[in-house]
C-alpha cells in the first residue's frame, strides 16, 4: 500500500529504505517530512489536533499519487499522513518518491506535497495561549499548487 492515514508515528529510515528494497533500478529517492512547529502566525503553539475526512482522505491521497505516476516515470511512492493529537516536534506527514534519476523524484515529491496541502481533507487546530484556533489556509499553498497546472476538478465550491 502506498498511502496510509494513521494516528501512529512512522519510521522515516525504514520507509525510505523500503522504497528501493529488493530492487536495483532505483537511483534516486526524494523524500519529505513535515513536523509540528512550536510557533505559527505569530503565536506559540503548544499542541495540535488534525481532523480529517475518513474515506475521502485516502482516496484523495491515492489520486494525487496516481496523478504523479502519470506525470513522471516513478518506481515507488509512499505517503503517510497522521491525524489526531500531535505535539511540537512530532512528525505529521511523510512523502517518499523513488525513481531512476533525481529530477523526476524531486518533482514528484514536491508535486505530491503541493497537492496534498490543497486537496487532501485535513484540518489543523492549534492550541495557543489565546485559545484553540483552526489554521487558516495559506495563499502561498494555492500559489504553489498552481505551478503544476490543472488536475481533475477544481476545489472551489463557488
Amino acid at each position: 500500500m502506498s498511502v496510509s492515514v494513521q494516528e501512529a508515528d512512522f519510521d522515516v529510515g525504514a520507509e525510505i529504505a523500503a522504497l528501493s528494497a529488493g530492487r536495483l533500478d532505483v537511483g534516486a529517492v526524494a523524500s519529505f517530512v513535515g513536523l509540528v512547529r512550536d510557533a505559527n502566525d505569530g503565536s506559540s503553539v503548544s499542541a495540535m489536533t488534525l481532523e480529517h475526512y475518513p474515506g475521502m482522505t485516502e482516496r484523495a491521497l491515492e489520486e494525487i499519487v496516481a496523478e504523479a505516476g502519470r506525470r513522471w516515470q516513478l518506481l515507488a511512492v509512499r505517503v503517510i499522513h497522521r491525524h489526531g493529537a500531535l505535539l511540537p516536534g512530532e512528525r505529521i506527514v511523510f512523502v517518499g518518491v523513488a525513481g531512476a534519476h533525481r529530477g523526476e523524484s524531486f518533482a514528484a515529491c514536491e508535486f505530491i506535497m503541493d497537492y496534498l496541502k490543497t486537496r487532501a481533507p485535513f484540518w489543523k487546530r492549534e492550541q495557543t495561549p489565546e485559545g484553540a484556533r483552526w489554521v487558516d489556509a495559506r495563499e502561498s499553498d494555492d500559489k504553489a499548487v498552481g505551478r503544476w497546472g490543472p488536475m481533475g476538478e477544481p476545489a472551489a465550491s463557488e
Partner: protein
C-alpha cells in the same frame, strides 16, 4: 421515491453548524451542490457560515466538487473549510 442524502461537516464548519453529519431528504428545487449549500445556509444561526462561499469547499462522494455539480439520491455530500494538512 424520496431523495435522501448524507451530509457531512468538518472542522470550523462542523463547529459552526453544531453537527458532524445528518441524513437529509432533499427539498424541491435543490439539484446541485451549490443549491444544497444555499438551502442549508438559510437555516439561520450558525448555518450562515456556509454562505461564505470563498471559505467553503465541497465534496460529492468523497471527491472535490464544484457548486454546479449535480447531486443524486444516495450521495454523500461534505462541506468544509479550505484544507490545511501536510
Amino acid at each position: 421515491m424520496m431523495m435522501t442524502l448524507r451530509v457531512l461537516y468538518f472542522a470550523s464548519l462542523r463547529e459552526a453548524v453544531g453537527r458532524a453529519n445528518e441524513e437529509l431528504t432533499l427539498p424541491e428545487g435543490v439539484g446541485t451542490v451549490g443549491q444544497l449549500r444555499d438551502f442549508l445556509a438559510a437555516r439561520g444561526e450558525g448555518w450562515d457560515a456556509l454562505a461564505q462561499g470563498r471559505n467553503v469547499r465541497a465534496a460529492r462522494n468523497q471527491r472535490m466538487a464544484r457548486a454546479e455539480e449535480g447531486i443524486e439520491a444516495g450521495d454523500e455530500i461534505a462541506f468544509f473549510p479550505p484544507v490545511t494538512g501536510g
